[in-house]
C-alpha cells in the first residue's frame, strides 16, 4: 500500500491554516469520533496501542507517558504543548504550526480529553511570530465553531488553551525548563524526579507533548490505532514522520515518510541528492544537531528510533543535516559548539564551563593554534560533561564532540599538526 502523507496533506493548499480549509479536508472528524466513542481511559489505551512515540527527540511512548499521571484528581492536570522548536536543522513543528494549525489543535483537544485536562498551554518559541499569530487565530476559529471552550461538541468536556510566547532560549525546549519559563521564572531545567507527570506546572500533574506528536494524535483519532500501527516498522517505530533535511542537498526541506525510510532514499529521492555533483557525501547527522554524526560509510541506515540507535546515533528530532566533502569537520563542530555554548543555560557546572572550553579549543584548532593533545582533550571534556548535567543538554554537546572526533580523528589531528585548517589552506583562505 502506498504511503499516504497525512501530516502534510494540507500544507500546500491555499489558506491551509484556516479552519474552513481544514474542515473541507475532513478535519475535526477524529475529535468528533473520540468524544463520541471513547472514554478518556479508552483513548489513552488507543494511543498506547498505536505505538506512537514522542516526536520531540527522546522518542518516549506517548500513551505510556499519559499513563504516568496520578490517578487522583486532587489537583488540576495540565497539558503543555512544546512548540519551542529550536534545534539546528529541525524545522518541522514550525511548518505544522504555520501551515496546518488545526491539525495540531485537534490533537491537543483530543489529548486533553484523554488526560482529563481542562487547561492547556501552547508554549511557542518567541521568534515564531507568524506561527504565534496563526495559532492564536486558529484557537479563535475553533472556539467560534464549538471545538474549544465549554461543552465541546456537546460532550460535556471543557478546554481552554493559553498561548505563551517564550523569550527565545534553546533550553526552554527541555520540558522542565519550559515549565519554569511558563511559570515566569528563568528557564532552568528542574532536577528529576519528580517528573512533570506527577509534579509539573504549578506543582500539578502535567503532560508535555511535542507539536508533531499531537498532530499524530489527530491521525490516530481519525483513523485508529491499528491503522497507525501499520505504518513504519512496527511494533516500536510506527506512524508517519516528518523528516527535515538541510545542508548540502539540492532540495532542503521537510518530507513526510513512514518511520524507517532509508536515509539515502530521503537524501537522494526526496531531497534531490547532493548539492554539488563533484562533492559526494562526507557525513550526515540524521537526527538533528545534538545527535551523533555518521560518516558517509555508515549512512546506509533506516530512519527510525531503533535502527539509528543500532547505528550508534539517534533519531532525535529527525533534523537531518548533510555535509559534503567540502566540509571542514572541525569547522562544522566549532559552529555547532558555538551554538551550544551560547545556548547553555549556565545552571550546572559541566555544561556551563565545558561548552565554553570546547569552543575555545575548537577555535584554536580551526585558526591554526591547535596542539596535538587538544584532540584527546576535546573527547575527554565531552566525556566529563556527558551524563553529569542537570538536563540532556550535556549530551547535546557531548555526543557531537565525541562522535565527530571519533569519526574524523585524522582531520582534527591534521589541524593540530599543520597548524592550519587544511581546507582553508587549500582554498587559499
Amino acid at each position: 500500500m502506498a504511503f499516504e502523507p497525512l501530516l502534510t496533506r494540507n500544507i500546500h493548499r491555499e489558506g491551509s491554516e484556516s479552519i474552513d480549509a481544514y474542515l473541507a479536508s475532513g478535519g475535526y472528524q477524529g475529535l468528533r469520533r473520540v468524544l463520541k466513542e471513547f472514554t478518556p481511559e479508552k483513548f489513552v489505551e488507543e494511543v498506547k496501542t498505536s505505538g506512537l512515540r514522542g516526536r520531540g527527540g527522546a522518542g518516549f511512548p506517548t500513551g505510556m507517558k499519559w499513563g504516568f499521571l496520578p490517578k487522583g484528581r486532587e489537583k488540576p492536570r495540565y497539558l503543555c504543548v512544546n512548540a519551542d522548536e529550536s534545534e539546528p536543522g529541525t524545522f518541522k513543528d514550525r511548518l505544522l504550526i504555520e501551515k496546518d494549525p488545526h491539525l495540531v489543535l485537534e490533537g491537543i483537544i483530543a489529548s486533553a480529553y484523554a488526560i482529563e485536562c481542562n487547561l492547556a498551554f501552547f508554549y511557542i518559541r518567541g521568534e515564531f511570530h507568524q506561527g504565534c499569530r496563526t495559532f492564536e487565530k486558529a484557537i479563535a476559529e475553533a472556539r467560534a465553531r464549538g471545538f474549544l471552550g465549554k461543552n465541546i461538541l456537546g460532550s460535556g468536556f471543557d478546554l481552554e488553551i493559553i498561548v505563551y510566547r517564550g523569550a527565545g532560549a534553546y533550553i526552554c525546549g527541555e520540558e522542565t525548563a519550559l515549565l519554569e519559563s511558563l511559570e515566569g521564572k528563568r528557564g532552568y531545567p528542574r532536577i528529576k524526579p519528580p517528573f512533570p507527570a506527577v509534579v509539573g506546572l504549578y506543582g500539578c500533574p502535567t503532560i508535555i507533548n511535542n507539536v508533531e506528536t499531537l498532530a499524530n494524535v489527530t491521525l490516530i483519532a481519525e483513523r485508529g490505532s491499528a491503522w497507525f500501527a501499520g505504518i513504519g516498522r512496527p511494533p516500536k517505530n510506527t506512524g508517519p514522520k516528518l523528516f527535515c533535511i538541510s545542508g548540502h542537498v539540492k532540495r532542503p526541506g521537510v518530507y513526510e515518510a513512514p518511520l524507517g525510510i532509508p536515509f539515502l532514499e530521503l537524501l537522494n529521492e526526496r531531497a534531490g541528492g547532493m548539492l554539488h555533483p563533484s562533492r559526494p557525501l562526507k557525513a550526515a547527522v540524521p537526527g538533528g544537531s545534538s545527535m551523533k554524526i555518521l560518516p558517509a560509510s555508515k549512512c546506509d541506515v533506516l530512519l527510525d528510533f531503533d535502527s539509528l540507535a543500532a547505528a550508534g546515533t539517534s533519531l532525535g528530532s529527525a533534523g537531518g543535516m548533510v555535509m559534503d566533502t567540502g566540509t571542514c569537520i572541525v569547522g562544522a563542530l566549532l559552529n555547532l559548539a558555538r551554538f551550544y555554548a551560547h545556548e547553555s543555560c549556565g545552571q550546572c557546572t559541566p555544561c556551563r564551563e565545558g561548552t565554553g572550553w570546547l569552543v575555545k579549543i575548537l577555535s584554536r584548532l580551526e585558526r591554526g593554534d591547535g596542539r596535538p593533545e587538544d584532540v584527546g582533550l576535546l573527547a575527554d571534556i565531552a566525556f566529563r560533561i556527558e551524563g553529569n548535567t542537570v538536563c540532556p543538554f550535556g549530551e547535546a554537546i557531548a555526543w557531537p564532540v565525541d562522535s565527530y572526533v571519533k569519526a574524523f580523528r585524522e582531520e582534527f589531528e591534521d589541524h593540530a599538526r599543520r597548524k592550519a585548517c587544511p581546507m582553508r589552506a587549500a582554498a587559499g583562505a
Binding site: 532560549a169 556551563r352 564551563e353 561548552t355 584554536r364 566529563r384 542537570v390
Partner: protein, 591 residues
C-alpha cells in the same frame, strides 16, 4: 522544629575534612555488609559498604554524613532549597546507569551507594577542573583563602594540574553589590546559594543570575542593591571568595583567627555566633548553627554589633570624683576627676557614699538602675548586693525597644537578657519604672543612684542637670558614657566578648556568652565588681566565678532548677517553665 532527629543530618562536617571511617562503622573484612532493620519512618541503605539508617526523606548526602562519609558539595546548604547545580556530589547508585547527585536523591530502602570509586573520583576531578578553568586562582589575596571549598576540594579531589590553556572569561571584580558586601564575579561558581538565600530566607529577592553559559553572572537588580538586613549571610553561604564582607576584608587571615562560640547581644534573640579574634581584637562575628535559635543565620546589625567596642572610649580604670556640689549651687564646669584610684579606694568610696545617703535620707532615697544587657550572673549579684545587702529598695531595668520583630530573627527588644531579668524576679524591663526613679531624683526624694551598664543620659528626656542633683551616683559600665562622666564613682566593667556569663533569650533559652578577649586596663566583669562592693556591705566569701554564680542561681531560682553552667554547653538549654510559644522558634527557609 527542634526534633533532634531532623537536625542530625543538617550539621555538615567541615568541607575540608577528609573521609574517615566512623568509629564502629567500618565493615568487617570479608563479611557481607548487612542492611539493618528499620522502624516505620526509617530507611536503611549501604553507603561505601557501611550500613546507615536515616529518617524517611533524608537524601543520600545526608545519609552519607550520618555514616561519617563526606560527599563534597558546593551548592547544597542545609538551610536553603536544593539546586543540584554544582554536580560535585555525584555518586554512583546501583541500578542507576548515570551518576546521581547526592544532595537531591532521596535515600531509598536497600540502596547501594558508592561515593569514592574511580568513576566518582574521575567525575569529581572533572567538576573541579571545570570550576577552576575560569576561576582567577588569586588565593594569595582572596579573603576566603583558608576557608574556600575550591581550595579544600582541589586538595582532596582535584586533578592537581590544569589542562586549560585558554584565556579565562573575565568578569567585574570588587563589584559593590550592596552596602556591606563586595562581589568578585570572577571567583563566583554560580552555586546560587546567595540568590536562594535572598529568595527564601531574607525574602528580599535582590539577586539573580544574568546572561548564560560561561558568561553567567550573579547580580543585583538595577537600583536594588543587596541591602537586606541579613546581607552578611550571603557571604557566609558563599562557598568561595566571591562575596566578601567589607568590614572584614583584609583584616586578618582566617587561620590566625581564634573562634570563640558565644551569643550575639544585639537583641533578645541571642543568635549563636562565633566571635573571631586576632591579637585581642574582634575582627568578625559569624553565625553559629543552632536550629532552636537562629538556624544558620544572623542579622547584619548583630554581625557588626561588636564594633561599638572600638567606636567608644573605654573606661579602663576606676574613677572617683569630688563630692557633688550642694543642691541649688549654680551650674558650672565639672571639677576635674581625681587621679585614677585603686579598686579598693573606689569601692570604699562608693559604699561610703551610698551609706551616707541612706543615713541622711533613709533607704528610700536610694535606687538602682541596672541593664538587661548584663549577664544573668551580673543581674543576680546586683540583686543580691544592691537589694539585699545595701538595702536599696527600688531596682529598675530600662527597656530598649527599636523597630519591630521581623519575619526571621530580629527582635524589637534590643536587650539580650530581659527575659533573664524577669526570671530572676527583677521584673520585666520597664521604662516607666525607670522614669519613676528619675522623677524622684528630680523631686529630690532619691539622692543616691547606682547605675549598672546603662547610660541614663541616653534615655529620652534626661538632661545632665538631673544627675547633678544626686549626692551619690555610682556607675558601673564599660565605656566613658556621659553618665560615667558625671558619676561620683565610676567602675570599669568588661565589654562584649570580655566576660563569661549567661543570658536568657526571649524564648526562655539560657545561653552562654564566652570571653574571647582580655579586657582593657582594670576592667572586670560587672558581677565581680558588684561582689566586691557587696563585701563592703557584709557579703561573705561568695561567688568565685561566673559558673559558681550560675550554679547558685540554679539552686535558688526555681526557673533555673536542674541547669548547670557546664551543661549549657555551646547550644544552651531551655529554662524550665520559660519556654516560648512555638512560633517563636527559629524561622526556616520557606516558612
Amino acid at each position: 522544629m527542634s526534633d533532634p532527629q531532623s537536625l542530625q543530618p543538617r550539621l555538615s562536617p567541615p568541607p575540608h575534612q577528609p573521609n574517615v571511617p566512623a568509629p564502629g562503622a567500618a565493615p568487617v573484612p570479608g563479611a557481607a555488609p548487612a542492611i539493618p532493620p528499620t522502624g516505620p519512618d526509617e530507611v536503611a541503605l549501604l553507603i561505601d559498604d557501611r550500613p546507615v539508617v536515616v529518617r524517611k526523606g533524608a537524601t543520600v548526602l545526608q545519609a552519607a554524613e550520618k555514616a561519617g562519609i563526606l560527599v563534597p558539595h558546593y551548592c547544597y546548604h542545609p538551610g536553603i532549597s536544593i539546586a543540584g547545580n554544582c554536580r560535585m556530589c555525584l555518586v554512583e547508585i546501583e541500578k542507576m546507569p548515570k551518576l546521581q547527585i547526592g544532595c537531591a536523591t532521596a535515600a531509598a530502602p536497600g540502596m547501594v551507594v558508592r561515593t569514592s570509586n574511580d568513576r566518582v573520583k574521575g567525575v569529581r576531578a572533572g567538576i573541579q577542573e571545570f570550576l577552576l578553568i575560569n576561576h582567577p586562582l588569586d588565593c594569595p589575596i582572596c579573603d576566603q583563602a583558608g576557608e574556600c571549598r575550591l581550595q579544600s576540594y582541589e586538595k582532596d579531589y582535584g586533578r592537581g594540574f590544569s589542562r586549560f590553556a585558554e584565556e579565562k572569561v573575565h568578569f567585574p571584580k570588587r563589584y559593590d553589590i550592596g552596602r556591606s558586601v563586595l562581589f568578585d564575579a570572577e571567583r563566583c561558581i554560580k552555586c546560587t546559594r546567595c540568590i536562594r538565600f535572598c529568595d527564601e530566607v531574607s525574602k528580599s529577592h535582590e539577586l539573580a543570575l544574568f546572561s548564560r553559559g560561561d558568561h553567567t553572572i550573579v547580580g543585583a537588580f538595577p537600583g536594588r542593591p543587596l541591602d537586606n538586613l541579613y546581607s552578611g549571610c550571603t557571604v557566609d553561604v558563599c562557598p568561595v571568595g566571591a562575596l566578601t564582607w567589607k568590614p572584614f576584608r583584609f583584616k586578618a587571615r582566617v587561620w590566625f583567627l581564634k573562634n570563640v562560640p558565644s551569643v550575639c547581644a544585639g537583641c533578645a534573640r541571642g543568635c549563636n555566633v562565633n566571635v573571631a579574634t586576632f591579637r585581642n581584637r574582634i575582627h568578625r562575628m559569624t553565625p553559629r548553627v543552632n536550629a532552636d535559635v537562629n538556624d544558620y543565620w544572623m542579622c547584619d546589625a548583630g554581625r557588626q554589633s561588636y564594633e561599638t567596642l572600638y567606636a567608644r572610649p573605654r573606661l579602663e580604670q576606676p574613677i572617683v570624683r569630688p563630692l557633688p556640689a550642694l543642691p541649688g549651687a549654680p551650674e558650672g564646669p565639672r571639677p576635674p576627676a581625681e587621679a585614677d584610684s585603686p579598686w579598693d579606694g573606689a569601692l570604699d568610696r562608693a559604699a561610703a557614699l551610698l551609706r551616707e545617703v541612706a543615713r541622711t535620707g533613709g533607704r528610700d532615697s536610694l535606687a538602682a538602675i541596672v541593664s538587661a544587657r548584663l549577664s544573668l550572673e551580673d543581674l543576680y549579684v546586683a540583686k543580691r548586693v544592691l537589694g539585699d545587702l545595701a538595702g536599696i529598695p527600688r531596682l529598675a531595668i530600662p527597656s530598649h525597644e527599636e523597630g519591630e520583630d521581623d519575619h526571621l530573627l530580629i527582635r524589637r527588644d534590643k536587650t539580650p537578657n530581659g527575659r533573664g531579668a524577669e526570671l530572676l524576679g527583677l521584673g520585666a524591663p520597664s521604662s516607666s519604672r525607670v522614669r519613676e526613679i528619675l522623677d524622684d531624683v528630680a523631686s529630690g526624694r532619691v539622692k543616691g543612684v547606682v547605675v549598672v551598664g546603662e547610660d541614663l543620659l541616653a534615655l529620652p528626656g534626661i538632661a545632665p542637670p538631673l544627675l547633678d542633683r544626686l549626692e551619690a551616683l555610682v556607675v558601673i559600665d564599660w565605656w566613658k558614657s556621659p553618665t560615667v562622666e558625671r558619676a561620683h564613682v565610676a567602675l570599669p566593667s568588661c565589654g562584649y566578648g570580655e566576660f563569661d556569663g549567661t543570658v536568657v533569650n526571649f524564648q526562655g533559652r539560657a545561653q552562654r556568652l564566652r570571653a574571647a578577649l582580655r579586657p582593657p586596663g582594670e576592667a572586670d566583669p560587672a558581677w565581680r565588681i558588684l561582689r566586691d562592693l557587696g563585701r563592703r556591705f557584709g557579703l561573705a566569701n561568695e561567688y568565685a566565678s561566673a559558673p559558681s554564680v550560675f550554679d547558685e542561681i540554679a539552686v535558688k531560682v526555681p526557673a533555673f532548677a536542674g541547669l548547670t553552667f557546664r551543661a549549657l554547653g555551646d547550644a544552651g538549654a531551655p529554662v524550665s517553665g520559660a519556654a516560648a510559644p512555638r512560633s517563636a522558634g527559629a524561622p526556616r527557609a520557606g516558612a
